[in-house]
């Protein structure tokens, strides 16, 4: 689906990503994890074709992203930024409908297919009962789910979600992660930035660990988040265990004056 090869990105003259190699496949949930400022959001923007690279290539289905028209790209990739918001106080249904913009014919209204996709996306993110509410009157968690529905309304082949669950309570975190899991099982490629390592461990097929702009590990969650890497990169230790054959992880202590020292 999406392949990044030796990708480097600078922002404001400062290099943010170095030599990144990463692939995202249809049918998998790829988790992007790493400490604050590691370059996770820049990686998502680069994958969405929103920021120019200084070196390397990003290809979608074998074609360089730069060669795709923005309109075509928009029908294939949905991008949900961190702290997403809607500036005008529109109703939930209208906000979700914005996700259909890439599919609309110029000067023509939405079709029945558009209406169905909007309904599906709203049901998926469980915001159907909010449909006539104004988005500025919603709680942070409700708003986050509405904006996720907006991203899903375009029926993308690849969903790039930058911390979609950080504003959610535990119930809705589990709920949204389950939905992302199910979308991937139905064939979507899902890349999701997560700060919650427990969720990353539980729901992702694969984790890419990024630190100081470099991918330092890429593989099964259990192997990527090895005790050594947790200590080196995150400066924490975690409790680990096994439930019905599925490994879990719980961040437990942080390293106050460890070998890594202060960053």
């Amino acid at each position: 689906m999406l392949t990044l090869r030796n990708l480097s990105v600078s922002r404001g003259g400062r290099p943010v990503l170095h030599d990144v190699d990463l692939t995202i496949q249809a049918g998998e949930v790829l988790g992007i994890v790493g400490p604050n400022g590691a370059g996770k959001s820049t990686l998502m923007r680069a994958a969405a074709g929103l920021t120019p690279s200084t070196a390397g290539t990003a290809t979608l289905d074998g074609e360089p992203i730069a060669a795709w028209s923005r309109a075509t790209l928009a029908r294939r990739i949905a991008y949900l930024p961190q702290n997403a918001d809607c500036h005008w106080p529109m109703t939930v249904e209208r906000v979700v409908a914005l996700g259909r913009l890439p599919h609309l014919t110029p000067w023509q209204g939405p079709t029945a297919a558009d209406a169905q996709a909007i309904g599906r996306a709203m049901a998926m993110a469980q915001v159907g009962d909010l449909s006539d509410r104004r988005i500025d009157k919603l709680s942070g968690g409700e708003k986050a789910r509405v904006l996720l529905a907006r991203a899903l309304a375009g029926d993308p082949a690849l969903l790039l979600a930058d911390e979609p669950v950080s504003d959610l309570d535990p119930y809705h975190r589990l709920d949204v992660m389950n939905h992302l899991r199910r979308l991937a099982d139905d064939g979507m490629a899902v890349a999701v930035v997560l700060h919650d390592l427990s969720l990353a461990m539980q729901f992702c097929d694969r984790l890419a660990l990024i630190d100081k702009g470099r991918i330092v590990a890429d593989g099964p969650p259990d192997a990527t988040l090895s005790p050594e890497r947790l200590s080196e990169v995150f400066r924490i230790t975690a409790l680990r265990g096994d439930r019905d054959g599925h490994p879990y992880l719980l961040p437990w202590t942080h390293d106050t004056a460890g070998p890594g020292g202060h960053r």
Binding site: A48, A74, H87, M90, E93, A123, G128
Partner: protein, 339 residues
């Protein structure tokens, strides 16, 4: 709940557009009827059918019609471009004057008066005003660059407006011709009085071209509600959208200022009042604000004719008197929401 249980209504506020359309027609007819000589509906109809008496036909065709047409077109221009700029900057305080186009267009007109160019050929005035508006856009591009944020564009607009005001003040300062100074000062106040069809035909092509550019950005403005990056991820060509809006504003506002002088605040007031009635949807707000702007300016122009003052009240003075308190109220409201 399954997907099919959720009713999807892409609501178009048809009622609102019927109301605005009807209001525009009514305000237009009122503008034809009202004035020193009141003309009844029957006479108005006969004037258009060509069966009215000579003076009535002359008043309707030569005096009232150009004035009403300009009120309609300039009001629509100010409403439409205000809604477009507010959508682009995601800021309810934006308006055509903001990017400095009105200010430099007025300076362009003042130059034409100052040097008496318009006495040489009539088109000098509008052309000079449009040149001013286009210059404002070019300075904006130089100051703000290709990928500037909204704040940079707003600050650049403030600088350009100040430049326009300073240059106009310079022209007045250096003038030793009291007649020219009086003419410039009155021009700056904005008016639709004593205009002819020549001015309508002169300004119309520029205004219509500007309307087409701004009107074509509706869906991009909808996407921009979600922020620049998300809009780009939805397929919006951001630099192109900005260019269309800024160029469209320069063309239509330049055309408007050329024939009416500066008329402010219509582009600020109208989109703000109408926004709740279109569900805050930027694309729907564009046509609604065009109609709303036409209604407001036509009615304001009727008001300046009806209000019994010794000299006729200037249209731009009236819109500013209404607009400035509104503007201050809007700032207070925006501040409260941000606090």
């Amino acid at each position: 709940m399954t997907a099919l249980d959720i009713p999807i209504r892409q609501t178009r506020p048809i009622g609102l557009f019927v109301l605005l359309g009807g209001g525009t027609v009514a305000a237009f007819l009122l503008s034809l009827a009202m004035g020193p000589t009141a003309i009844g509906p029957g006479d108005l109809l006969r004037a258009f059918l060509g069966t009215a008496d000579g003076p009535t036909t002359l008043i309707v065709w030569e005096l009232r019609l150009p004035r009403a047409l300009l009120g309609l077109m300039i009001g629509a221009t100010l409403g439409l471009t205000g809604a477009g700029l507010q959508g682009l900057f995601r800021n309810p305080l934006a308006e055509p004057g903001l990017i400095g186009a009105s200010s430099l267009a007025a300076f362009g007109a003042v130059v034409a008066m100052y040097f008496g160019l318009y006495a040489l050929f009539a088109a000098a005035l509008p052309l000079s005003a449009m040149l001013g508006a286009v210059t404002a856009v070019m300075i904006l591009h130089l100051l703000a660059g290709r990928n500037a944020g909204a704040l940079t564009i707003i600050l650049a607009g403030v600088a350009i407006s100040s430049l326009g005001a300073a240059l106009i003040a310079l022209a007045i300062n250096l003038s030793n011709n009291l007649f020219a100074v009086t003419e410039i000062v009155f021009w700056l106040m904005g008016s639709l009085a004593d205009r002819s069809m020549d001015q309508v035909w002169l300004a119309a092509p520029f205004m219509v071209a500007g309307w087409l550019l701004v009107g074509g950005t509706g869906r991009a403005l909808d996407a921009l509600a979600l922020g620049d990056e998300t809009a780009m991820s939805l397929g919006v060509d951001l630099p192109r959208t900005r260019l269309k809006l800024i160029l469209g504003t320069a063309l239509s506002v330049g055309g408007a200022v050329a024939v009416s002088g500066t008329i402010g605040f219509v582009g600020l007031v109208v989109p703000h009042l109408l926004r709740p009635f279109v569900g805050y949807q930027p694309s729907t707000l564009l046509p609604a604000s065009a109609l709303g702007g036409a209604i407001l300016l036509l009615l304001a122009d009727v008001a300046v004719r009806v209000v019994p003052t010794e000299a006729e009240l200037r249209l731009g003075v009236l819109t500013a008197l209404i607009g400035v308190p509104f503007f201050l109220g809007l700032i207070l409201k925006t501040r409260r929401e941000m606090a």
